[in-house]
């Protein structure tokens, strides 16, 4: 993850499945300000594709999807609207 990206809110969704992963991420983002950054950690493999795709569909910016360790992935989203 680039040093320039400042994460405003962290959301640990390990152990959660789709579509709950997206629902929780979306609810979190709704409460944030435009321009703020949300970092979501998931370990449900389909969520690594599904959450970014759904976020893009909603007009949010997916800054990065990174593998954190053997089981976890971090999805970094900037609120655009």
């Amino acid at each position: 993850m680039p040093d320039a990206v400042k994460v405003d809110v962290e959301l640990d969704l390990k152990g959660e499945m789709c579509p709950y992963t997206f629902v929780r991420s979306k609810l979190e983002l709704e409460e944030m300000e435009v321009g703020q950054v949300l970092r979501v950690v998931v370990d449900h493999r389909p969520a690594v594709e599904n959450v970014p795709r759904s976020m893009k569909n909603e007009g949010q910016k997916v800054l990065e999807v990174e593998k954190v360790n053997a089981t976890d992935w971090a999805i970094i989203i900037r609120k655009e609207l």
Binding site: Y20, F22, V23, R24, K26, L27, E28, E30, E31, E58
Partner: protein, 286 residues
């Protein structure tokens, strides 16, 4: 700081398919949870309308019905079952709705709507879903909604046909369409009328959809239109409605300034709720 604190985990799961929708989201779901909708009638139209509104998480559902569940209701009134026969419909309805969604507060009004009580009752709600089965109540609800400035989600059925509209304050009403109730002699007797059981299911469900859209402020409502449904043709027809500036209740110079208790038209006093429908003026059987 998280809105997840305002939604319980159970609510997030229950409403997840709403929250996923871009047009709804958490904010829309919260609007639904804060909404108050009054259902007039817990019969054929009120059943699916109430069940879907409860499932959607509408926070408060008021139900007006003084009637008791009869075996002949079960062909279409899906809120009620065999074990409810003889029970008050509001009680049966409240139980069914609670079973669907205990989040919803159901307020029971076990009384006949009249000029005496209608304003007090609708005062506590954002909008009315009219699923009544008789003209006196329909005109009373219409007039009360106009006077109180409430949205009226109208539905009526007869035989195989249904009619729907949404009347918004200042934008027309049922009287703009049909200025007066039909004269009692013009309507067929209770026993002559019939209704396809599934018909109120379709019409009442559309009423629920319109109510939900109004709450969310999304889409285009049926306001300014009359939707005609024919189950035999399986056809929908949407015709434009205009506010009538000469309307007796919502026109520019209203002549009706207080509520009217029309006579129950049905000549069969023993069956006051299941009566008469003139062809061409929507149905009364709900």
């Amino acid at each position: 700081m998280s809105n997840n604190k305002r939604f319980t985990e159970e609510q997030i799961k229950r409403y997840s398919r709403h929250i996923i929708l871009p047009q709804v989201g958490g904010k829309g779901q919260r609007k639904l949870l804060e909404a108050k909708v009054l259902l007039v009638g817990a019969g054929g139209l009120g059943s699916p309308a109430a069940m879907y509104l409860a499932a959607a998480g509408v926070g408060r559902l008021g139900i007006v019905d003084f009637d008791r569940v009869d075996l002949s209701n079960l062909q279409r009134q899906i809120l009620h079952g065999v074990s409810d026969l003889g029970r008050l419909k509001t009680v049966s309805a409240a139980e069914t709705l609670h079973e669907i969604n205990p989040d919803v507060e159901v307020v029971q009004y076990q009384e006949r709507l009249s000029s005496e009580n209608v304003m007090d009752i609708i005062g506590g709600y954002d909008m009315v879903v009219d699923g009544c089965d008789n003209f006196p109540t329909r005109y009373l609800v219409n007039d009360a909604c106009v006077l109180a400035g409430k949205a009226n989600v109208h539905g009526s059925i007869f035989l195989f046909e249904g009619q729907l509209s949404v009347f918004l304050p200042g934008k027309g009403c049922y009287r703009c369409l049909f200025p007066e109730p039909p004269p009692p002699g013009a309507v067929p007797s209770c026993q002559e009328a019939g209704v396809l059981g599934v018909l109120p299911g379709i019409v009442g469900t559309i009423q629920a959809a319109e109510a939900i859209k109004l709450i969310l402020g999304i889409g285009t409502s049926l306001n300014g239109h009359l939707l005609l449904f024919d189950a035999l043709d399986m056809s929908f027809q949407k015709v434009k409605l205009r506010r009538n500036p000469h309307c007796a209740i919502c026109g520019d110079s209203p002549t009706i300034t207080e509520l009217i208790d029309y006579e129950q038209f049905c000549s069969l006093a023993a069956l006051p709720r299941e009566c008469n429908t003139p062809v061409g003026q929507g149905g009364v059987r709900a």
